[in-house]
Symmetry: C2
Amino acid sequence: MPASQPFSYDKLFAKNSQVSTRAPSRHAKYDFAVAYPDPDNLPLEGLVESLQTALEREGRDLAYYPEVNGLASLREWVAEKLARDRNMKLTADDVVLTAGSGEAISMVIQALTDPGDVCLTEEYVYLGTMRQMRRFGSEVVSVKCDDQGFISSDLRATLKKLTGQGKKVKYVYTIPSFQNPLGWSMSLPRRKELLTITKEYGVPVFEDDCYWDLRFEGEDVTSIHSLDETGQVVYCGSFSKILAPGMRLGYLVAPKGLLERALSFKAGGGVNQFAALAVDEYVRHHLHEHVDVQNEALIVKRDAMLAALGENFGGIAKWRVPKGGLYMWVTFPEGTDMAAMQETAFNEGVGYYNGSQFSPEGRGKNCIRLCFGHPDAKTNYDGVTELARIMERHGVMPAG
Amino acid sequence: MPASQPFSYDKLFAKNSQVSTRAPSRHAKYDFAVAYPDPDNLPLEGLVESLQTALEREGRDLAYYPEVNGLASLREWVAEKLARDRNMKLTADDVVLTAGSGEAISMVIQALTDPGDVCLTEEYVYLGTMRQMRRFGSEVVSVKCDDQGFISSDLRATLKKLTGQGKKVKYVYTIPSFQNPLGWSMSLPRRKELLTITKEYGVPVFEDDCYWDLRFEGEDVTSIHSLDETGQVVYCGSFSKILAPGMRLGYLVAPKGLLERALSFKAGGGVNQFAALAVDEYVRHHLHEHVDVQNEALIVKRDAMLAALGENFGGIAKWRVPKGGLYMWVTFPEGTDMAAMQETAFNEGVGYYNGSQFSPEGRGKNCIRLCFGHPDAKTNYDGVTELARIMERHGVMPAG
């Protein structure tokens, strides 16, 4: 019999386990840090009514475990939507429903990368994706961008350099529509060049198209997936930004071989059937109208933020006018340390993330991302004005 | 520039990815294979009303991403329930909400096991757990049981032998209340012995208490968790069997250090907030009554199955009268090959799983598990009668 010692887990943990670093969310008075949709336009009544209708029809099936790929009728709807809106050729069997796009992203990362493998991203990249890439040991390398997307010469040079070093580049991750955090959309020529260049290197493209529905103006650009005939493109989307993050519903579209591998990392069975039934019934009848209403509201919010930016930072900082999505990317002159300001600004009422949080290489302390979707228009206006006052008070406002 | 080849994922998959082997569910006319709750007693109206109430109060928060550990008020309710019902000392901070108990089990397995590590289980073990253990490379070893639970001398001998071989035993997994698939509950003395023996070896106990609420008769036995003062016991439960599997809600209770590691394997953020809000509101007002109604219905279903077993297999096979839960374990004489019969029986109308599917060592082809919770009483009666007819037809009915 072994000597009895106080019980401890210390020697029992798996090698690839980590201490989870997720801190509870916190919200500043002016909360521009995290992208949430408009709380005044959540379709709560519509979702409850849709749920009731769906449960009356097929509520008894709630006694079954949902299939691992999720509610069949909602997968069919997603396939039809992507065919109609994104010119994609697919069937419901190509779709797996996931807990937001976050789960889809995690499944693809785990299916394609071993520790030490490389993932390429835009110059600034969605935090949640970068966190998951690093969680599973990937090296994240960014490619230079302008407001058309990846700069093709840098993409090619980066692939050449990394493969020359013997590194395994497993995919290029992109948010081509209303990019998070930069706000632009990738142009059609750049989408084609992305496919041409990655194809030369046998590298998949992972297209995260979460924001496509939130278009305020401008011409649509077809999906990267629709431009490819080889199965090279993995695609994900989400209901978080068009319905609500709390619905925890997204989807993954990939060729069969990859989908089967990705599913081996899906825990907890098929997505929540209760939520899926409500969403399935809701989107068939109301989504188009709901998105229109939501985009109208977002335009007003965006414009209020633009007005305050102009009044307070005109001639001092630079920003794009986003034609959709939820993000305003503001660049202050080199040397303006918005990273150092961040905690102070939060404590004094204005929450934002600074550029270095989105940069794989930690660049961009002079940049900030402002999310304009959740606060109302007046709050957006007042918050940006308040940020200017805070910066002045602490002597970090650049000269105009 | 590399030579251009047809695009393929074959060389891109991660080493620990697998092809997912989950087949779509199929249901026989008499469907005793998978454990589902009673579809006639799903609280659909109550859940919709509860959802409406909860959304009126806090629906705006659906615009936020749920915290990774899940809706705080439901975690509080779980902590109160477990303190009241299972004598556990805990707070809401010790609880993480998960997509059914399946996600909780997957997270614990990933946090505690590297490929080659050993997990101990009862002689026959829940399929979903065994699948996840093997998915992540664990060796699954069973310990002999009688209808009181683990036979303590075999547990001790197994631990001694495996540790003597230099193997790392990472935990003992048990379903102590109305065990799946065997149907018994572990006695209090055996629970204490389990803790004493595992403590000597520094091995945690993973207590899966999914069926505790489904008690029809007999005395309650306190949780293993409540008998331990050292943090050695990890605990999970589920709303699948007391509300509905389609709600995809369960919970994990573990010491902080383990919980933080387990969370690093949770993809897709906090559990579905839409479902959690409905359940949180529902269980506070209606769960007690709902469970009573459900158990009354289950008793009738159980008894109908028992009647048919007696009439058709009396003196031929053996079974326990389960005092709760959803499972009837029927043992035919040695040599009766119910594994070989299984597909035939399914095709002729009766679905069941045979013992070898639950045995880490593949034993028990002469045993079957019958789930009595989903079909109505008459169907249970007719289905067991039909099984006898099928066995007679194919010449596999043992002599009485």
